[in-house]
């Protein structure tokens, strides 16, 4: 085992039912890379079809990958795989968190932690290298994530990382998170930990992660990576004109500019003109607080934080003294939807008090603190839209008992007072009353409250699938490409491969040329809001986007940054380098692997996800049972026809063709969208084919 590089070599299996631990060989999973891949394989092998998310028979796998902890750039993600309670079939899904947890797991000598069974009493898992124990957590049960994290950290050696659930997870709220580092959350699986009576994992590692390559060669790849990297989401042009930049884009996350500061730092830090050749300013490129909250947030920005081995600091830490008015710490950290989702619950707007944008920022900051401490997930902001629909349609008034309805502080909501969120999140977390059904997720709440067709069919509510998940970089992002990607998973697609290109800020002709070099034709991509009929290159683009996403969650690399499709460098004609993952993988593991060979591993992982979905749903008819898109996609802009500049409206026949072409690219049955026996065997999934055949779940 001492010769293993990249991987730590061992997987920790924790049986909560009998309190036993076992170390297993990682390399039996090496064809599945790590992280997500290991998670799927364990779920396939060990969790019977029909198991529900909160059953003791369900398992939850925390996965790192062969690049985690090696120093590869942006390798701080932790992949968590389990059944998803908010999905109507409780189908398999992944949640992911940034932070530092997975790297610490590698330093402790573990590539993954498989947690199975159910503890008879609340426990937390303590790991110090190979010393593993289950600790009494009865005194932590009922506590929030912040206190739990602090307490567990206090019981661990300095430098430990803690992943924990809040009361929402304990109470098996479907929409609940697992969080590390106090604000890096993985949405959807908190309740699985709660169902198993495990409150937290504290982990400390002091072991090295070995790499096979000569460190000088590794450094060369690091240099190449740092040359092509952009800002958050790999946006490669600045948001304002800059002397070094040929292009700019207002919505770029490369927000740094002279005069824009981390205003609450002492002294304030000027983000400045971050010339891409100046590697010492990479961490200043993204002033995310002003991106997430507007200009008002600059004065409250203490610093930008982020994840292990990531030079892109996309996680803002704010000091807002007014938060204390709500009984909260004045210090809040988060990014992106962690902030925007609580803002979306304020469905009647935000307070206009204070400076412009301050009311909105306060809602987001208050909500982020509450959601993070309770451990409530948002289903990619859908919880707010579900609340909005139920409220505006009058359904809420009908389904809530009068007494409960009257107890809701509607006056606070109307005033835009963030105090409303204190009440709202408490109800969700502790399953107080009928309103708390919103925490079950869109599918279940729509079913219980009998949401009308207008909920599913209106673009106002963003529902992508009747399986209860919203759009996430869908038809508005490369048209059919984003649409296909959004239909393939069992929750909102967390794929950013495609949107990192379309959001890069580069002119369309450069984007098309770049993707043409990667995929085979510039026809893979259309100009924004002006798309053309389906073609095979779009199917290839969708496939490439997904399998890279699966690879990133297996290696583990951040798909909010990777792949490096483009760069900020004019002298490179803005080309990135899509071979970097395979270079890092080869050097870390010592297994020479080409880009195409690594992509094949991604294809294997994604196809296993599809097979798991087929098995759990008990049908091969993915085209009609799993992949359909809500109606609004075909009916928005009633006065416009598909393929007209100015609409994202999709064409029904064209989308059916898109599915057919995509299934073909994947080697799946073109009629049903289920993996064929031949493809499963081609991908080394013979055992999967055999089991599906036995279950009658292979397409004819």
């Amino acid at each position: 085992m001492s010769n293993i590089t990249g991987w730590a070599g061992k997987i920790l299996r924790v049986n909560l039912t009998d309190g036993t631990f076992k170390a297993e060989d990682t390399l039996k999973y090496k064809d599945f890379v790590g992280g997500m891949g290991i998670g799927y394989k364990v779920m396939w092998d060990e969790v019977p079809a029909g198991t529900k998310a909160f059953d003791p028979e369900n398992k939850i796998i925390f996965g790192a990958g062969p690049l985690t902890g090696t120093g590869a750039v942006c390798a701080g993600r932790t992949n968590i795989t389990s059944l998803l309670a908010s999905n109507p079939y409780n189908a398999v899904s992944d949640s992911h968190m940034g932070g530092h947890f997975s790297a610490e797991m590698k330093y402790a000598g573990w590539d993954a932690i498989i947690i199975e069974g159910k503890s008879p009493k609340p426990v937390w898992l303590k790991i110090e290298n190979d010393k593993v124990s289950l600790e009494d957590a009865r005194y932590l049960w009922g506590k929030g994530i912040f206190l739990t994290t602090a307490f567990v950290a206090g019981k661990m050696p300095k430098g430990a990382q803690v992943a924990a659930i809040g009361q929402a997870g304990e109470n098996m709220v479907n929409l609940s998170v697992i969080m590390n580092n106090g604000s890096h959350s993985a949405g959807g699986h908190g309740g699985v930990m709660g169902s198993k009576n495990i409150k937290a994992i504290g982990i400390r590692g002091t072991l090295p992660v070995h790499i096979a390559a000569d460190r000088r060669d590794w450094l060369e790849v690091d240099k190449e990576m740092m040359a092509v990297i952009g800002a958050n989401n790999n946006h490669v042009v600045p948001s304002t004109p800059q002397p070094w930049a040929e292009y700019n884009a207002a919505r770029s996350r490369w927000t740094a500019t002279d005069g824009l500061t981390w205003g609450a730092a002492n002294p304030p830090v000027n983000t400045g003109t971050c010339d891409p050749h100046d590697l010492n300013s990479v961490g200043l490129r993204t002033q995310k607080a002003v991106f997430d909250h507007g200009a008002v947030a600059e004065q409250y920005t203490v610093r930008m934080g982020g994840c292990h081995a990531c030079p892109i600091r996309c996680h803002s830490t704010l000091h807002i003294p007014k938060l204390e008015k709500y009984g909260l710490s004045p210090n809040v950290s988060n990014t992106c939807v962690g902030y925007s989702s609580p803002g979306g619950i304020m469905i009647q707007g935000h307070s206009k008090e204070g400076e412009e944008g301050e009311g909105t920022m306060m809602s987001k900051a208050v909500g982020a603190q509450l959601a993070d401490d309770y451990g409530v997930w948002c289903n990619y902001s859908q919880i707010g839209r579900d609340f909005k629909y139920a409220h505006e349609s009058g359904i809420l008034k009908k389904v809530l008992p009068q007494e409960e309805y009257d107890s809701i502080p509607w006056d606070l909501l109307e005033k835009g007072d963030p105090e409303f969120l204190v009440d709202f999140y408490r109800r969700i977390t502790f399953k107080e009353g009928e309103l708390s059904r919103l925490g079950e997720g869109a599918y279940w709440v729509a079913k219980a409250w009998n949401f009308g067709d207008d909920y599913w069919n209106s673009s106002s509510y963003n529902m992508w699938s009747k399986l209860g998940f919203p759009k996430h970089h869908s038809n508005e992002t490369a048209a059919q490409v984003g649409s296909l990607i959004n239909s393939m998973f069992n929750r909102d697609a967390q794929c950013h491969t495609h949107v990192n290109l379309t959001g890069s800020g580069l002119p369309i002709e450069i984007q098309k040329a770049v993707i043409g070099e990667v995929i085979g034709s510039p026809d893979a991509l259309d100009a924004p809001n002006s798309y053309t009929p389906m073609n095979e290159y779009k199917a290839k683009f969708a496939k490439w986007s997904i399998i890279r996403n699966c690879l990133h969650d297996s290696l583990t690399l951040c798909n909010w940054m990777w792949p490096m499709t483009v760069s900020p460098l004019k002298e490179r004609n803005y080309r990135g380098n899509t071979s970097l993952e395979s270079q890092y993988f080869s050097m870390a593991t010592g297994i020479p692997t080409t880009e195409a060979e690594l992509d094949l591993m991604g294809e294997r992982i994604f196809t296993l996800h599809r097979a798991l979905t087929v098995k759990q749903m008990g049908t091969v008819d993915m085209r009609n049972e799993h992949d359909p898109i809500c109606e609004w996609v075909y009916t928005i802009n009633p006065d416009m026809q598909p393929f007209t500049p100015g609409t994202q409206k999709m064409d029904r026949e064209d989308m059916q063709l898109a599915f057919t072409m995509f299934y073909k690219e994947m080697g799946w049955d073109e009629k049903t969208g289920a993996p064929t026996k031949a493809t499963l065997i081609r991908l080394g999934l013979r055992d999967v084919a055999a089991e599906l055949e036995k279950l009658g779940l292979l397409p004819n």
Binding site: A245, E246, A250, N462, H472, E476, I508, P528, N529, T647
Partner: protein
């Protein structure tokens, strides 16, 4: 005057230093000490310089008032053109060129807030006055307004975008993209 190599070095370094400080070098700047070229020899001297090995980064841009120089080691041509536009003071052309370029190459509509940022640096009222005049002026008939559902004002060139297309891009940039971060 020293030999040619010395003067070339002086000119090149002066231009580069100005560029690093985000400034263009005007032709007349080179008539001053320590370079002290004669006014009638500046243009030829600069044109010669750009052809000499080691000075390929020195680029010239002809403005309405004078000739400008910059080093492309430290500034892109597109940014230098913006600075020329600011120096020239032809504000209509400066704004319209930006809008037309945005509509053509990205394609996108242009948030008017862009013009309040560096290097444009218009004050809000000044900008609104200029835009009001620009859109009534001959030669700028293609510049049109597009408003998002939150009433934010964007501009586009109908030489490159239809109104429906422009409106959809405006709504995406200003509203919808923020709902799907």
């Amino acid at each position: 005057m020293g030999d040619h190599k010395d003067i070339n070095l002086l000119i090149g370094e002066a231009i580069r230093l100005n560029t690093i400080n985000i400034k263009l070098t005007k032709a007349e700047d080179l008539t001053m000490e320590p370079i002290s070229l004669k006014a009638d020899e500046v243009t030829n001297k600069l044109e010669e310089l750009t052809k000499i090995e080691g000075y390929e980064d020195i680029k010239l841009l002809k403005g309405k008032k004078t000739l400008y120089c910059y080093s492309e080691k430290h500034m892109t041509g597109s940014y230098a053109k913006l600075l020329v536009g600011v120096e020239d003071g032809d504000l209509f052309a400066l704004i319209a060129d930006t809008i037309r370029n945005d509509s053509k190459i990205y394609p996108r509509t242009t948030d008017i807030k862009l013009f309040t940022k560096s290097p444009y640096n218009f004050k809000e009222k000044e900008l609104m006055d200029i835009l009001g005049q620009l859109m009534k002026s001959e030669g700028y008939e293609d510049i049109k307004e597009s408003r998002a559902s939150n009433n934010a004002l964007y501009l586009y060139s109908e030489l490159h975008l239809s109104k429906a297309y422009a409106d959809s891009l405006t709504e995406w940039i200003e509203v919808t993209s923020l709902e799907c971060p």
